[in-house]
Symmetry: none
């Protein structure tokens, strides 16, 4: 399985930040996780709130651990709230089931995930996708 | 009390996997717990997401600890969400109250539980039942 | 990076059990983790104590997360006990730093780990190595 | 109070990595925390073990929260192990009291901390200092 390199992780973060600037979004925070849900890289833009690492991480972590991107997680949470609450319990409360948690795929396999937070969930996801595509990876929002 | 043997646990897992293949389901993960809720055996099929152990475990653990299979737990969660949330609190957030958590009975007594995850909850339960029956145990979904 | 397949995980477990039988060891429990520290497969032999999953897991989990096999972890714990205690803290108390946590390598890269518990730590490690070699992987004890 | 900017955080990480390369060290992981102990930036070099975020974070987190760099924490742990263990308890086990956790000061005030892990603790600290100095901050090891 392909692994996301540190160079790719930097490209993802820098491109997501640039996309946010281009769209005039609020300061973003971006995390890149590997295929096991472990942190490869993170950056929090100047002016972002101190707790943004945990939120970015929670969006990406749930995506990797469940193999389900943020949009699908949000739908499940809306359809069956107690199920996603329970799933969160077994993952130590580390899952934030909203857009902005974007799966990274290569040749179809999940190789990690990106979590973006700071603006609306939909805008966060747009920036994550821009980052992944710049790094040559497929994005599933 | 009869205990589920390691040989039976393997039969349960292998049969559940075979049932999933026969039905064309997504890659499954299957856990077998003993009468104390402790892990006897687990297998995660190739291609399943990394977090599947925790979900399979949560389905089976709740079944054993409450003496209540996944279908009954789901009904309770839908009827009285705060109660199941509170129950989950006292069990450290380790309970996933949906089908696919199937009680194993022998001569009427609970001897353990099987947790299956990967496809829809109902399909997960079908595979758990197939596994338990192949091992000579009664299944309560 | 190569991933350990479910077929390899079964080979590891079955071979470790067979090695334990051949050596006349106590009932073993064997877990196989992937490169992210997530459970691929586990089996607990008949007669093993109920808490053996947690111990097997802790041996293998620390090995993967630290990139350091059980023997090296034990040396560090003996040389600088407060450091390994602190490391354990950041991993939620999930690290058991003794032999029997064996790194699985392929072409030099860590692709997972095996945790064996039940007999002496050294005998546990011997069985883990037998399992990994039967699966075509290099073992670092 | 001066805050570490994202540009400075990048300088710290890139310089620490370059120092590690120049010294021929193992792959490093570097975290930069703000004055509240919250993550500003992190990078894990290719080939580093998956659990390195937690260790880097633990080194830097303890430094900020206690206002005491890694070397002083290690001395305290060696002199009075139960005290540092108790301190760790009140911080949720998130403190790793060894060199490589380096305080960042500006005009005497603590403005954050850097945590480096991957090689020996002393080498880790050397790389953290190089990073902080390149970013125009004072380092207390």
């Amino acid at each position: 399985m392909t692994q996301i390199s540190q160079a790719q992780a930097r490209t993802i973060i820098d491109t997501a930040f640039a996309k946010g600037d281009a769209l005039g979004l609020k300061p973003l925070s971006v995390v890149v996780l590997d295929a096991g849900g472990h942190v490869l890289a993170f950056s929090r833009a100047d002016g972002a709130a101190p707790g943004r690492f945990a939120i970015a991480h929670g969006k990406a972590y749930g995506a990797v651990m469940l193999g389900m991107a943020g949009t699908a997680q949000m739908k499940r949470a809306e359809d069956q709230a107690y199920f996603m609450a329970a799933v969160n319990g077994v993952f130590g409360g580390q899952v934030v089931p909203v857009p902005g948690g974007v799966l990274a795929r290569h040749d179809g396999a999940v190789v990690g995930a990106v979590g973006v937070t700071g603006d609306t969930s939909d805008n966060d996801a747009i920036c994550a996708v821009a980052g992944l595509e710049a790094a040559g990876l497929s994005a599933e929002i």
